[in-house]
Symmetry: C2
Subunit: 216 residues, 2 copies
DNA sequence: GTGAAAACAAGAGCAGTGCTCACAAAAATG
DNA sequence: CATTTTTGTGAGCACTGCTCTTGTTTTCAC
């Protein structure tokens, strides 16, 4: 059982999410293909296990990086961003599983993936909250539609965040900005060999982004 | 031949990139499966055709939106971002094909995809260039590593851009920021039903982002 | 210890996939 | 009209996810 996830992870790293084959995993496991269905009801179930697995590892990495960083909110933000990128570059297939195209026909069971799936944004929000409390988060007033205000109010309550609407939007910009930059690099969307020094680019991008969202 | 792409596009929209089946397309085409190999050497070849197709349509949409917007650089930027999102929301499968996880085993042939694939960033760079020339792009000096300076110099030359290093980095932040936000929405990565008004969120995000990268 | 119950594995089989290849019908060209 | 080129056929290979029936272990209560 644990072995299935272990070998599944290996195959995932080797062939990518969509090419992940239960039969191949069974072979590697030295067992006939149908035997795997004793432990896992379907390929999607296995994907869910691997998704949770990946979310957890990424969450661990980010939380550890934030904890290891200093008190400075901006430094913590940069550490979190760096941790995301480092993990993604080291585990492109698992990153793709979680942050790429949803696997065809696959519907993530919310009850099992939302918990681990929110660890990064929770960590980011905490950094923003601390910054706001320390007066190190400047808020640029944005033009926010009423429907959005309702959404943001719900989120503020759910996470118990002290951020105002504009700051919350800024946090989502930081969030999507990090993953946008990482995805571009990991998925090779900058174009072929456009950047020889992707990590240097990422550093500069995150510096710009952290300043942009008001972190100082 | 054109029919293959046409039906391929329909299937793509219906089932997503990874589940796209040549045999199913052949059936819809009223032809035996092996016949389509007369026109397309492999499934990957078909994917390439569809990728180019998607890039072109997105490029058209963005260029048209920018042209229809006023002279104001910021307005043009917002128009471009909105065009990306609108197309992505309308064509999630095709968006996924191009900006999601690379299809397993698929290697995009650079010579056929790089041209159409760069139209969005070219449009963005033009907006930034115009803004810079009009003095409407403030440059916040970033800490840029020497290796990155080399990359940026190459890019500046390739695109004939007048932007300085920090402004170029800001442009990549805008670029990846747009697609990061769009991907989060299209791929449902914000979490289940977190935002009831995604377009309002996007507007606010892009407003924040445009200000953040120095566009005024 | 023995017998029932639960857990595990095997193997055949179904429907689907990408792709190849020898062959036949149709269309264009001389 | 004859010949070449193009287009389509159908069988077949190796693979996939998944189901179902059968058999083998292991565990556990008595």
């Amino acid at each position: 059982m644990r072995d299935i996830v272990r070998i599944g992870r290996e195959h995932l790293a080797a062939v990518g999410p969509a090419a992940l084959s239960l039969r191949a995993i069974a072979r590697d496991l030295g067992v006939v293909s149908s035997a795997v269905y004793r432990y896992v009801t379907s390929r999607d179930e296995l994907l869910t296990l691997l998704i949770v697995d990946a979310y957890d590892e990424l969450g661990d990495a980010v939380e550890a990086a934030v904890a290891a960083a200093g008190e400075d909110p901006r430094g913590r933000f940069l550490a979190a961003a760096r941790a995301v990128r480092t993990w993604a570059v080291a585990e492109p297939s698992r990153y793709a599983l979680v942050f790429g195209t949803p696997v065809p026909g696959y519907r993530a069971p919310g009850d099992r993936t939302t918990g681990p799936g929110t660890r990064v944004i929770v960590a980011l929000l905490r950094i923003f909250d601390e910054a706001a409390r320390a007066g190190q988060l400047v808020s640029t007033a944005l033009d926010i539609a009423p429907e959005l205000r309702a959404d943001l109010a719900r989120i503020r309550e759910e996470y118990g965040s002290p951020l105002d609407d504009s700051q919350l939007v800024a946090a989502t910009v930081a969030w999507t900005g990090i993953f946008g930059a990482v995805s571009f690099e990991v998925f090779g969307q900058y174009g072929t060999d456009t950047f020889a020094a992707p990590s240097a680019l990422f550093e500069a991008q995150m510096e710009a982004l952290s300043a942009a969202v008001g972190l100082s």
